[in-house]
């Protein structure tokens, strides 16, 4: 049974506007939330932190250079899950192979950017902000998208970060605080006083005379936290998953996302992370288990969304800050590299391989050369999925990659 959004509209206003604090933010927004409606499309971003080895994700298994560069790590033709005659998935990616067969998976190959930076942090910041270190970075690409998508406070946060770590820069917006949620259970104020949250909220929202930029930030963040925790208290318990989620951390996070979508939240963007892809040593077992986690969780989520009748409005996208070097190192691992594949899942994706596999013979300092700028993929997501203009968000015109069917 679908828990309808009307059941809890008007209860609280979450995702406080930064500028709405102190003065009383308008709280009527039931009709606005309703208008936002159940038809709005949802984007789920899955960040693979540490630099995923793209070459052992989508594998050019026939290629001599691949086999010779990776005496320890190369996967043999009889082990890969064939995509075509040249390329195959890592054997642990059965979940993705299944999605591909169902026409719900797209693989954009050879994604990167010019003058690649091999520092995790710098490269991640580039992916998050679309800006280089020399630019003044104030917000992230999704933060800018949020600023285009939402103009007034709404009953639900426009974007949510599900994770225990610091919030991704990509979600930093000029106008809205994006809540970070570790888990639904953890996300509530403890204590037996029913009025406690209300008291805190009242004190937090009272006007500050000695305000500073930093105090304002903490003030609006606290108000958002209390709002969202009150909102989550109202979330229905009716959700029944239509797929079996793995017990892995990512599996459970995506299950939470599914639960929130099913509950009728008007949130448009969800962000989750999986860490551990920095496989400098003994890569094979670690990478195997990470890919299994990603593949199975993504497959379960996509299947569940389809089963809930939400398949047409949910798109998931996986990215990593860089790929890894073609040549393996002495520790049976791989060092930081450049281009890699991006993976998209959902009922509406243009299924199959998009773009060529990057050349294994035409390398730059031992690294793959990119042919598709990540901002072209972002442009596709922004224009074809979230329906907002991309140049002002991406800081320039990028030819969108065609990602969505119809």
């Amino acid at each position: 049974m679908q828990f309808t959004r009307r059941d809890f509209l008007g209860l609280t206003v979450t995702g406080s506007a930064i500028y709405g604090l102190g003065s009383t933010a308008p709280r009527f927004l039931a009709h606005a939330a309703e208008r936002a409606g159940e038809q709005d499309r949802v984007l789920v971003v899955i960040q693979l932190s540490g630099g995923n080895d793209g070459l052992n994700t989508v594998i050019p298994f026939r290629h001599d250079v691949y086999r010779k560069s990776r005496p320890q790590l190369a996967l043999a033709a009889d082990r890969v899950l064939k995509i075509d005659d040249e390329l195959g998935f890592h054997p642990e990616l059965t979940g993705l192979a299944r999605l591909l067969e169902a026409g719900e998976l797209a693989i954009v190959q050879g994604v990167g950017y010019p003058n690649p930076n091999r520092s995790h942090f710098e490269s991640m910041d580039i992916w998050h902000t679309c800006q280089r270190k020399t630019d003044q970075r104030l917000d992230g690409w999704l933060g800018r998208a949020i600023d285009r998508l939402q103009h007034e406070p709404s009953s639900d946060a426009i974007a949510l970060h599900l994770g225990e770590k610091k919030q991704p820069f990509a979600l930093t917006s000029q106008h809205w605080r994006v809540p970070s949620v570790r888990s639904l259970e953890q996300f509530r104020l403890q204590g037996n006083q029913e009025t406690q949250a209300q008291t805190i909220k009242q004190l937090v929202e009272s006007k500050r005379s000695n305000s500073s930029d930093l105090l304002d930030f903490v003030q609006s963040s606290t108000a958002t936290a209390v709002d969202v925790s009150q909102r989550f208290d109202q979330i229905g318990k009716s959700y029944q998953p239509k797929a079996e989620y793995p017990e892995s951390a990512l599996g459970q996070k995506l299950k939470t996302v599914a639960q929130l979508i099913d509950a009728g939240l008007s949130t448009r963007i969800y962000y989750v992370e999986v860490d551990g892809f920095d496989t400098h040593a003994q890569q094979a077992p670690a990478h195997e288990s990470l890919l299994r986690e990603v593949g199975n969780a993504l497959a379960a989520f996509t299947t569940d969304m389809g089963g809930q009748g939400q398949g047409d409005r949910v798109l998931s996208v996986c990215f990593s800050e860089f790929g890894r070097r073609v040549q393996e190192n002495a520790s049976s691992g791989t060092d930081h590299g450049t281009a890699g594949p991006m993976i998209l899942a959902g009922a509406k994706v243009k299924a199959g391989l998009i773009g060529e596999h990057p050349s294994l013979t035409d390398l730059e300092q031992g690294d793959l050369k990119f042919h598709t700028d990540f901002r072209q993929v972002y442009a596709g997501i922004l224009e074809q999925w979230l329906e907002c203009e991309s140049p002002s968000i991406l800081g320039g015109e990028f030819e969108p990659v065609s990602l969505i069917d119809g």
Partner: protein, 449 residues
């Protein structure tokens, strides 16, 4: 955004005038240079000059380390690194040398190494001992030591760095994160430096140089060529001009203000001091903590409290004690589990400490702390603490809590709201007092240092 740009570096780092030395400034010094202090300690500090108070912090030593060592041995015997986290929390709550602990925490974040990957608590503990020993010492010596520290070698995979295929991880991080900063080296420098570290291994929990795996060939790093060893490589990195700026910037962010990033001009005098002293950490800390800028209104209350500062600071201020194992376990929810930094970059700090989950976790940590019978203040309840400090009226209590706990004053509305909570209600006074402490801890003001 450009507050720092307008600051005169000459003025900024000159010694602060001893007049206008107040309890508020003493509390600031102890919040930043330590983990806050009791009202008694603060009142003692106000009877000194600021420079004497800073010297006291810099020169403080533990009266005895026996209790810490005994506890360390017992937690190491469990083999569980979570207990090591609790051990450090205990030490932070009781230390007589808070600045040394603060710097040990700084270096732990700087040379971030996680028990998650290292998995050997003994090695993590040894690294902690190393960081504490060098916390205020010579940076060059610290860098040489940490480069052969077994936990570090395991964490950054240098332990499997072989001649045939050098592993670049440690070479990259020593330049990017430990010494120079991104952009002050080339990818070629990293590859060549990685060759210097080939053959640096861990055997039987100790550092070992395996000469069969060391690449003796010529390397070119920063334009210099030679058959450099690992130690030569470290010295080449230490000689780079960008190092002192990079490190002083990080120290200023940690001790002075999170944002905006300090300008090159502001850092220059500190970097010069650092260079001239032969990279003595103490010289820079001494200069920072004694300075005009450090004690200025532009700096007080302009940092986000880290989770450790939040929890330990509350207890040290209120002369509190509690179950430190449970407290340590809860810090993970706030985003700072000691011995388990999130990645090689350590904790980023500043605004990244704050999001809706960590804020709720902060509130819940204090809720839990206050609801526990075993949490004591001045050996008893909040009532006893108030009696000890002769706080009678609700307004006196709120003002005392505010003066001791907060870097930023509460607005009059909030203050009077809290006074009303204390005045009214049917609950016993102890519960009302605890509720007011709880509410203060959930206020935006308490998140700032």
């Amino acid at each position: 955004m450009t507050i720092h740009a307008q600051i005169d570096p000459q003025w900024a780092w000159s010694p602060v005038q001893p007049d206008e030395w107040t309890l508020r400034k003493a509390a600031h010094l102890y919040r930043r240079g330590g983990f806050s202090a009791s009202a008694e300690q603060l009142s003692q500090a106000t009877r000194l000059t600021p420079h004497e108070a800073v010297r006291g912090l810099i020169e403080a030593t533990e009266e005895s380390t026996t209790q810490y060592e005994t506890l360390a041995n017992s937690v190491l015997a469990t083999g569980n690194a979570d207990n090591l986290t609790a051990w450090w929390m205990y030490r932070l709550l009781h230390t007589a040398a808070p600045l040394r602990e603060k710097l040990t925490l700084f270096w732990h974040g700087h040379f971030a190494t996680s028990a998650e990957k290292v998995t050997d608590s003994q090695l993590m503990y040894q690294q902690n001992v190393l960081l504490r020993e060098h916390a205020l010492g010579n940076f060059g010596a610290l860098l040489h030591e940490i480069s052969r520290d077994p936990a570090m070698l395991l964490y950054l995979d240098s332990a499997s760095n072989r001649k045939a295929h050098p592993n670049e991880n440690y070479a990259r991080e020593i330049m990017e994160l430990f010494c120079l900063g991104e952009g002050n080296y080339t990818e070629q420098d990293i590859r060549e430096l990685a060759r210097c570290f080939t053959g640096w291994e861990v055997r039987a929990k100790r550092f070992r140089f395996n000469r069969y795996q060391h690449d003796n060939g010529e390397k070119t790093i920063f334009g210099q060529t030679g058959d450099f060893s690992g130690d030569d490589g470290i010295d080449l990195v230490l000689a780079q001009p960008s190092g002192p700026e990079f490190l002083c910037t990080k120290l200023v962010k940690f001790f002075v203000a999170d944002e905006p990033s300090p300008s090159t001009e502001l850092i220059a005098p500190l970097a010069q001091e650092f260079r001239d002293s032969g990279l003595q950490i103490r010289s820079v800390i001494d200069r920072i903590l004694n300075s005009n800028y450090f004690f200025s209104e532009q700096v007080i209350g302009r940092k986000v409290r880290s989770p450790v500062e939040y929890a330990v600071g509350l207890l040290r201020t209120l002369e509190g004690s509690t179950n430190f194992y449970d407290l340590a376990a809860r810090l993970d929810d706030l985003g700072q589990k000691l011995f388990f930094p999130p990645n090689v970059k350590g904790w980023e700090g500043g605004r990244t400490w704050i999001n809706s989950s960590t804020l709720l976790a902060r509130a819940n940590l204090v809720r839990d702390l206050l609801d526990r019978e075993e949490t004591r203040f001045a050996g008893g309840g909040m009532v006893d603490l108030c009696d000890k400090h002769e706080l009678k009226s609700p307004a006196e209590v709120v003002d005392w809590l505010q003066a001791n706990l907060l870097a930023v004053e509460l607005s009059p509305d909030v203050r009077s709201g809290l006074v009303r909570k204390l005045e009214s209600g049917t609950e016993p006074r102890e519960r009302r007092l605890r509720q007011v402490v709880y509410l203060i801890c959930t206020m935006p003001e308490f998140q700032l240092s």
